[in-house]
């Protein structure tokens, strides 16, 4: 009689990819709900369009690659998650082909051409977002103002019609929908702040604009708050590591705190930076991507801090109002190198031996 003895660790984590992905998708639900509450049906329509396109593209590529067990790979949730994340990021009243082109690019070029799940160097959703932003700047910056501030109310049918035809059933165009009673086109809080500071207004003067609401950014603050809750749930479930979001938010805090202390008139507060744009989504759902992020504990801290710094720099000095997507892509590029230099010490070696090993001396 022979006992089969396996080597340690004996306690395995039985989570499959699909279960993990499903949890992450569930965690985006509070944020998606908040988006629906403040901005209407647009993003939900884009998310469903994106999911359908993603599954079609994934199926085509997998069958071209002669993969076995297509069904399992198709529904492992990774493609759906990419589509959901991209659908969340797209402006609510962008035309339908924006999400279709974006997801096609994300799945076919960014994910599958590099070898599929686990082999992609860049986060597919963010790479696709950057591609869209560079290719179609007009459509990708036509943000819909919060429903409460809009002159013409948009219900589900109107949103559907504006996404597919460019006009609501009453004949309003995207531009007209974005115009306030005063005749100004509304932009996102980040965009407005950037423009106004560039024009020489102070932050306090800018914050009186009703796009900022009572606190920091009307609608956006609650969306970010909802994503924060989803992210905290993910951390509690141990789906994502706490290091990346924490160091990202801390780094953003340090940057904005320094700027705010030096010149409070031209720089927004930390909470404004935390609760506007794609900050929380990036911190908890994008940067923590196990494939494209760093893997060691120290590496995650460094990547998070780097991303926070980059987001602040792009938001303040860059050409685009929000910099989360660009920061994520740059961090994806840096992640392998950061991992290389932040390898944890292996047990059973003295410190000196380990150092030599890392330097390649041995």
């Amino acid at each position: 009689m022979a006992f089969w003895i396996a080597s340690s660790p004996h306690n395995h984590n039985q989570t499959a990819t699909s279960a993990l992905m499903r949890l992450v998708i569930y965690a985006t639900l509070p944020g998606v709900f908040a988006q629906w509450y403040f901005f209407g049906w647009g993003n939900i329509i884009h998310i469903s369009l994106a999911v359908m396109t993603a599954l079609t593209c994934e199926f085509i590529v997998l069958s071209l690659r002669n993969k076995k067990n297509i069904r399992k790979q198709l529904f492992d949730g990774s493609a759906i998650l990419t589509a959901v994340l991209l659908g969340i990021c797209i402006p609510a009243i962008a035309p339908w082909w924006i999400s279709v082109i974006g997801v096609t690019f994300a799945i076919i070029v960014v994910k599958q051409l590099y070898g599929g799940l686990g082999h992609n160097p860049f986060n597919p959703a963010m790479a696709a977002y950057v591609m869209l932003l560079i290719s179609f700047p007009l459509q990708m910056t036509s943000w819909q103002p919060p429903l409460a501030l809009m002159t013409a109310p948009v219900d589900f049918a109107n949103t559907l019609s504006i996404i597919f035809t460019g006009f609501t059933s009453e004949g309003y165009s995207v531009e007209q929908l974005r115009t306030t009673v005063d005749g100004f086109t509304m932009a996102t809080p980040l965009d407005t702040l950037k423009t106004n500071v560039g024009l020489g207004f102070t932050v306090f003067e800018t914050l009186e604009n009703n796009i900022f609401g009572e606190h920091f950014a009307f609608g956006w603050e609650w969306i970010n708050f909802a994503f924060l809750i989803g992210g905290l749930a993910l951390i509690a479930k141990k789906v994502i590591a706490w290091q990346t979001p924490l160091s990202f938010l801390f780094s953003l805090f340090v940057c904005s705190f320094i700027a705010y202390s030096i010149s409070p008139d031209s720089s927004a507060s930390t909470l404004f930076h935390w609760l506007s744009g794609g900050c929380m989504l990036g911190a908890f759902f994008i940067l923590t991507d196990p494939v494209t992020g760093a893997t060691s504990v120290k590496g995650r801290l460094i990547v998070g801090a780097l991303a926070g710094l980059l987001v602040y720099v792009i938001r303040t000095f860059g050409g685009y109002p929000d910099g989360v997507a660009f920061a994520v892509l740059l961090c994806n590029m840096a992640a392998p190198l950061i991992d290389q230099y932040s390898r944890p010490r292996t047990y059973g070696h003295t410190l000196k031996e380990h150092d030599n090993e890392q330097k390649g001396l041995k």
Binding site: L113, M131, I134, S135, F136, P137, L138, Q139
Partner: protein, 253 residues
């Protein structure tokens, strides 16, 4: 008499053989330049102009033709003076020759196709540094007679221009939805009828026009070539090597 005759026939046979060999070499040169060893797709030489100016077909053709002309002339010249070039200083001499021809082409384009000259900008003088040209001068023209060297230059140049043309066509259709936009700048006024509106785009697909789009499209074209090569290889009858099995001879049995 009979001996003379024999010599004559053997001579003509030799001539025939040489002619056939030459023909085979030309054929090989054409295949190498256009497909197997294409400077754009396989050697990946001269990528900088290849990716930078192929936003429209007209620009791509302009640069392709300029490169073709320089390549043929420089190959012919390098081959003609190959006996007198000292080995140690051959590279500077090649560069001087190429630069002379590039200057000629640049002045010609400045005179006759000013619009293209302007839109190609720095990439026209940069043909001097195109590795495909100096590569052919070094690898082929400096070792072979003038006729073959010129033909090699023609084929390599055609291969390069073809890749430029395809890349330019794909990027122009994706980016602006047109083909041969602004062809009159290159071919004269009659060519403005060549402009084709493939599809009406509400907004330009900027990625296709920007450099990243060039890289992505280039990647797809190379992949397509590899697929075709793999298919061709599959179709060829497999040459099975005859396996010689060793037979163990057992004397005892």
């Amino acid at each position: 008499m009979s001996i003379d005759n024999k010599e004559l026939t053997s001579e003509s046979a030799e001539k025939l053989l040489a002619k056939q060999a030459l023909k085979a070499e030309y054929k090989e040169l054409a295949i190498q330049g256009l497909w197997k060893n294409n400077p754009g797709l396989v050697q990946l030489l001269g990528l900088c102009p290849l990716l930078a100016v192929t936003a429209t077909v007209t620009n791509a053709l302009g640069l392709g033709l300029a490169t073709l002309l320089v390549l043929v002339c420089s190959n012919a010249t390098v081959s003609a003076i190959r006996q007198w070039v000292p080995k140690e200083v051959r590279i500077p001499i090649f560069v001087l020759i190429i630069a002379a021809f590039v200057t000629c082409v640049q002045l010609l384009m400045n005179a006759y196709t000013y619009g293209i000259y302007q839109s190609l900008g720095i990439f026209l003088p940069l043909i001097v540094t195109n590795c495909a040209i100096i590569g052919r001068a070094e690898a082929y023209a400096s070792k072979n007679p003038v006729a073959q060297a010129s033909f090699d230059g023609l084929m390599m140049g055609l291969g390069f221009a073809l890749v430029l043309f395809i890349l330019g066509a794909i990027r122009e259709v994706l980016g602006q939805g047109t083909l041969f936009d602004g062809a009159h700048l290159l071919f004269g006024d009659w060519a403005s009828v060549l402009r084709i509106e493939v599809m009406q785009l509400d907004s330009q697909f900027l990625l296709a026009i920007l450099p990243p789009g060039a890289f992505i499209v280039m990647g797809f074209i190379i992949a397509l070539k590899n697929v075709i090569d793999a298919k061709l290889k599959e179709r060829q009858p497999q040459v099975t090597e005859q396996i010689i099995e060793r037979v163990r001879v057992n004397f005892e049995s």
